[in-house]
């Protein structure tokens, strides 16, 4: 594949001091491997699933966009990649998760700590509010660089912090280092958040809705920056968005999620031209860019089902115009190969 990472990444991490687990970047093996993953909690003694099930693997340096409505489980899935599910009172309840050569399915906080920022850089949703308003940008970057836990002198760390700001192309970086979040524009704050996520040079960057609150011109600049960073660092990317245009701009693969499950996954171009799941198809056609003035937009009727209220059979059937009797019974269909990519629709051959 054309998306192999620079060899430098792996060696840089291997040289990390102490006994920290190695971050393995093997170009032949998935860097991220998610197999029938379930995320949920116990309620009244019964399991309540939020994600059920997602299967996806990503080679080093590859890119994946995740699309789906609010409540489809996209954000919880991302949190599982950074070991932060526990903070939300949920956990992995089934399947397997492995990142950088480590099986993290049952990892506890102490297992995650030496891996977290080194294996996966994470920019959470609403990250414009993610900076601490009372600390300077430099203080927060020093924290991200692991000052205190790594054998790094303060002088070295300051140089690295400054380099991080250059990396995300922040003008007047020397001044910005000593500023606080209220002094920065939305675009600048997002650049600082990305810089912090890149502090330990993770081979994979996960961005959850990175541009939703930004103006169009700023959104464009941030997307271009992310693209440049990937080229420079050979870094993999997972990008969550409800905007298919944003995903297509940056990602060569797309996964559609609906009610906690992978419903379609494959090459972006292939899915764009031949969606084989009615949900992805409807999403593609509900775009304003596709709309003709004076004609109704394609809208999906109804609302997505709440967690715990997923219907029997294919979870999308109550809103699906192609649903047949067979769609209304049994379990959520497992994705299968149709027209070059995976779809969870049992009637995929008939979806146009």
């Amino acid at each position: 594949m054309a998306e192999l990472p620079g060899a430098g990444l792996a060696t840089a991490q291997a040289a990390a001091p102490g006994t920290d687990p190695q971050i393995v970047v093997d170009p032949r093996k998935p860097y991220l491997d998610v197999d029938h993953l379930q995320i949920g909690l116990q309620r009244d003694g019964l399991p309540l699933h939020i994600v059920d099930t997602v299967t996806v693997s990503l080679l080093p340096g590859a890119s994946l966009g995740i699309v789906g409505e609010s409540g489809s489980g996209k954000t919880m899935l991302c949190r599982s990649f950074t070991g932060t599910l526990g903070r939300y009172g949920v956990g992995i309840t089934g399947g397997r998760l492995s990142i950088a050569g480590h099986d993290l399915t049952n990892a506890r906080e102490k297992d995650w700590r030496p891996i977290r920022g080194r294996a996966v850089g994470y920019v959470p949703q609403s990250s414009l509010a993610g900076l601490n308003p009372v600390l300077t940008v430099e203080t927060q970057l020093l924290e991200a660089l692991g000052l205190g836990s790594r054998t790094l002198t303060k002088a070295q760390a300051r140089i690295e912090a400054r380099q991080l700001l250059d990396m995300v192309k922040i003008p007047r970086a020397d001044a910005v280092l000593h500023e606080r979040s209220h002094q920065l524009s939305g675009g600048m704050r997002q650049r600082v958040m990305i810089a912090a996520a890149l502090a330990l040079r993770p081979p994979l960057l996960v961005l959850d809705e990175p541009t939703t609150a930004l103006d169009v011109t700023v959104q464009y600049e941030i997307l271009v920056l992310i693209r440049q960073l990937r080229e420079e660092l050979g870094m993999g990317l997972i990008l969550v968005s409800h905007d298919l245009a944003v995903v297509e701009f940056l990602c060569s693969q797309v996964m559609t999620m609906y009610a906690g499950a992978t419903v379609e996954i494959g090459a972006s171009e292939n899915i764009r031209s031949r969606p084989r799941h009615p949900y992805t198809n409807a999403l593609l056609h509900s775009r304003l860019g596709m709309a003709e003035r004076g004609k109704d937009l394609v809208a999906i009727p109804g609302e997505s089902p709440a967690v715990g209220a997923w219907p029997e059979g294919c979870r999308f059937w109550p809103r699906c115009s192609s649903a047949a009797d067979a769609c209304r019974t049994g379990a959520q269909p497992a994705p299968r190969l149709v027209d070059g990519h995976l779809t969870a629709c049992i009637r995929a051959e008939d979806v146009t």
Binding site: S70, T217, S286, L288, R293, L297
Partner: protein, 255 residues
């Protein structure tokens, strides 16, 4: 200029703070006919939301005038927003989570608006509110349950029903779908188009989304830093932008 429902002339709005004056709108002219749609696009700080607020009387113009249906409703010579015209212009806000009272049933939110604008018995007002909610796709059960169970799209429908309570002539929609998912956005925009056609409403769409403006409006105003950068028929402005800033906005929009 006869026949224009909305007529805004040389609108200026300045916010005075203790230290500085913020020139939010620096000269805007706008005419909208009955049943027509105009878009105002621009980025954060462009002044587009201030125009919306001035139209409904949430901020007073510093100079210039706003006429609705021939009546001077706000501006230099007006004493506050013309009371008799208030019902004519209603607004839908960006964030349906913040613009509805979480302790209030959806039905009560609409009922309150109906009773504010019109002298109806409690029973009549209730029937009317339920009809209005039904027309935007909210069932009686949803209307009488808590707001918590409702999605962003459903909440925005309630906001629309509330705005329609006085049977207004003008709807000002400030980013009505920017906090919604794409499929919820499609449903809300279809609804707004249907309501506009049925009621012959004039609509002002405030948005940063050029795709939305292209799809919904006949005319567009591009704003930046309080100034009108470019103004004209939407197709002309989006296909043949004459200003560098408009060109940059168009280039930044993803297909």
């Amino acid at each position: 200029m006869a026949g224009n429902l909305i007529e805004v002339t040389d609108l200026h709005v300045t916010y005075r703070t203790a230290s500085t004056d913020v020139l939010a709108v620096r000269g805007l002219n706008l005419t909208v006919g009955a049943g027509q749609s105009t878009g105002i696009v621009g980025e954060s700080g462009s002044g587009k939301s201030t125009v919306a607020k001035a139209l409904v009387g949430l901020v007073p113009p510093t100079s210039g005038s706003i006429r609705i249906d021939g009546d001077l409703v706000a501006g230099e010579r007006a004493k506050g927003y013309h009371r008799g015209s208030r019902w004519k212009v209603q607004m839908i806000f960006q964030d349906p989570y913040g613009s509805l009272d979480p302790r209030q049933q959806p039905l009560d939110a609409v009922l309150e608006a109906i009773q504010h604008w019109r002298k109806l018995s409690k029973a009549q007002a209730r029937t009317e509110a339920l009809d209005l909610l039904k027309s935007v796709g909210i069932t009686e059960r949803q209307a009488t349950s808590g707001l918590r169970a409702l999605s962003g799209g459903q909440r925005q429908r309630i906001s629309i029903a509330r705005a329609l309570a006085p049977s207004p002539q003008v709807l000002v929609a400030d980013e009505p779908t920017s906090s919604l998912d794409q499929s919820a956005q499609a449903a809300i925009l279809n609804l707004l188009r249907r309501i506009q056609a049925e009621r012959g409403l004039s609509v002002i769409f405030i948005s940063h989304d050029l795709g939305l403006v292209r799809y919904l409006t006949e005319d567009v105003i591009v704003m930046k830093d309080g100034f009108v950068v470019e103004q004209g028929p939407t197709d002309q402005v989006l296909h043949h932008p004459t200003q560098e800033y408009t060109q940059r906005l168009i280039a930044s929009a993803l297909a």
